[in-house]
Amino acid sequence: MSARTTRRPLRGPTDDGPIVRWILIALGVGYISLFLLSPLIAVFVEALRNGVEASLVAIVEEDALSAVWLTLTVAAIAVPLNTLFGLAAAWSIAKFEFKGKAVLTTLIDLPFSVSPVISGLVYVLLFGAQGYLGPWLDELGIKVIFTVTGLVLATVFVTFPFVARELIPLMQEQGVAEEEAAISLGASGWRTFWRVTLPNVRWGLLYGVLLCNARAMGEFGAVSVVSGHIRGLTNTMPLHVEILYNEYNFAAAFTVASLLALLALVTLVLKSVLEWRYGDEIAATHRH
């Protein structure tokens, strides 16, 4: 019998020691708390600083209500438009082979790498008073910049890729076998889409729409450029936050901001639920 060595490897060769583990978790959670959790808490604390009643007054005020209404309106137009586009783009890219597919896919992602300010700027350059089409449209009595139309366009630009980029990889992964089977059984293309394709991608679609909507309601830079900040007319919620803040009306600014933060939290919760429950049915990149 030999003497037992005194070392005791309480962990396998791929596990980190408790001290390393503890330090890394502390650093990671600390970093998240400092940069993500503290701003989130600050929004709600500042909003409720003068009590719930004061907050309610700030929301029920006329300009704030019209900002809420405008934000909902813009999202209600922009999100369905980009959803329709996302479905069409995914259908053509995932189910068919054609030249230039890679280029098309890259172009669809383009708005993500463009500054939001530029997303608004391009429409001012097209439709503004000194824009390429502005004077011509003006004669026809059509105004785009400083109107709801401009807000919708800018929002469509920044939220353009969301639905498409969720659906394309998902539909590619699913292939064409089921659609071909349905068609061979006599189903029309339209019916095949509704009965076969759509049910297969429904959670991925919902996921994309969710993210698209969050960005549409929260977008600031792009709409700021085309809005003109006309109170009660072209002021969305994020723009209203800015105006209130710049008027040193901090409590009201944070109250409207807290509504937007609530929207963000609801989005995060729904997103997490989708990832946990339907991880296999949404695009491969979101499986944890």
């Binding site: 060769p13 791929t14 890394l24 978790i25 650093l27 990671g28 959670v29 970093y31 998240i32 940069f35 993500l36 503290s38 701003p39 989130l40 600050a42 500042e46 586009f85 479905l87 069409a88 783009a89 259908w91 053509s92 068919f96 890259t106 172009l107 992602d109 383009l110 708005p111 790498s113 463009v114 500054s115 939001p116 300010v117 530029i118 700027l121 001012v124 350059l125 008073a129 000194q130 469509v156 630009f157 353009f160 071909e180 068609i183 029309s188 293309g189 960005r215 600031f220 830079g221 700021s224 450029v225 994020p238 723009l239 936050v241 800015e242 937007l260 933060a261 963000a264 995060l268 997103k271």
Partner: protein, 266 residues
């Protein structure tokens, strides 16, 4: 044969052109009414040059911070179990979901001289709000999810066998990380860093509140575009915008190349 290619492809190309490509072309065409020398003058004017330097410099620093801590957070989320892990995991996406203006005023309140965090930094002589450091803070916030979400799935899919093999060959834990794990996640990590950088360069909403927007000091390029528009200097705004756009395209090409590299390695 599945039907519907004509109409869906046609709609895709039409919508893409109408909403994205033609407007972007309008941006790239506009500056040239100033002439080549005029465009150069507009872009190299000290205030514009300073703002471009700040936007790219601060974005680079923020991306570097996230490169380190994003990797750390991804590691912790994939490898360890701890209370509240799911909450932390969900919270990582907050910068995607929280409107940038909300983030902007919240960060300003935190880092202002009397704010929760600012009050501790003030005695040390560190001013964050209304300085370039504030810009870095906002851009770090905005870029945080990219590195985590790029690295996380690759790290999760990495077979433990590679680490076990390295261990039986005598490597220490640090050697295993440096020589086996890190090279395997390198393409994903670089992609995440590039994405965070690209996003930060163009960021507007979260920055303008905390930056103080002092010309030549803490004024970012996107804000200068807005300022020029308000002065009806369309061509000048377009010149700055085009400069940013061209650099963003270059970044996009780099990111695509990185992703192709990652796929080739997989």
């Amino acid at each position: 044969m599945i039907p519907g290619f004509g109409i869906t492809f046609g709609f895709t190309v039409f919508y893409l052109s109408a909403v994205i490509l033609i407007p972007l072309a309008a941006l790239l065409l506009r500056p040239w009414e100033l002439g080549v020398s005029g465009v150069w003058a507009a872009v190299s004017e000290p205030r514009v040059a300073a703002s471009l330097r700040l936007s790219f410099g601060a974005a680079l620093i923020a991306a570097a911070i996230n490169a380190v801590f994003g990797l750390l957070v991804a590691w912790v989320l994939v490898r360890y179990r701890f209370a509240g892990k799911r909450v932390v995991d969900a919270l990582v996406d907050l910068p995607f979901a929280l409107p940038t203006a909300v983030a902007g005023i919240a960060l300003t309140t935190l880092y202002a001289p009397g704010g929760w965090i600012g009050q501790f930094l003030d005695p040390l002589g560190v001013k964050v709000a209304y300085t370039p450091i504030g810009v870095v803070v906002a851009l770090t916030f905005i870029g945080l999810p990219f590195v985590v979400r790029s690295v996380q799935p690759v790290l999760a899919d990495l077979e433990r066998e590679f680490e076990e093999a390295a261990a039986t060959l005598g490597a220490t834990r640090l050697q295993v990380f440096r020589r086996v794990i890190f090279p395997a996640i390198l393409p994903a990590w670089l992609t995440g860093v590039a994405l965070a950088f690209a996003r930060a360069v163009g960021e507007y909403g979260s920055v303008i509140f905390i930056a103080g927007n002092i010309p030549l000091v803490s004024e970012i390029a996107p804000l200068l575009i807005v300022t020029k528009l308000e002065q009806y200097d369309y061509a000048g705004a377009a010149a700055v915008g085009s400069a940013m756009l061209v650099i963003s395209f270059a970044m996009l090409l780099v990111i695509n190349a990185l992703q192709a590299w990652a796929r080739a390695r997989g």
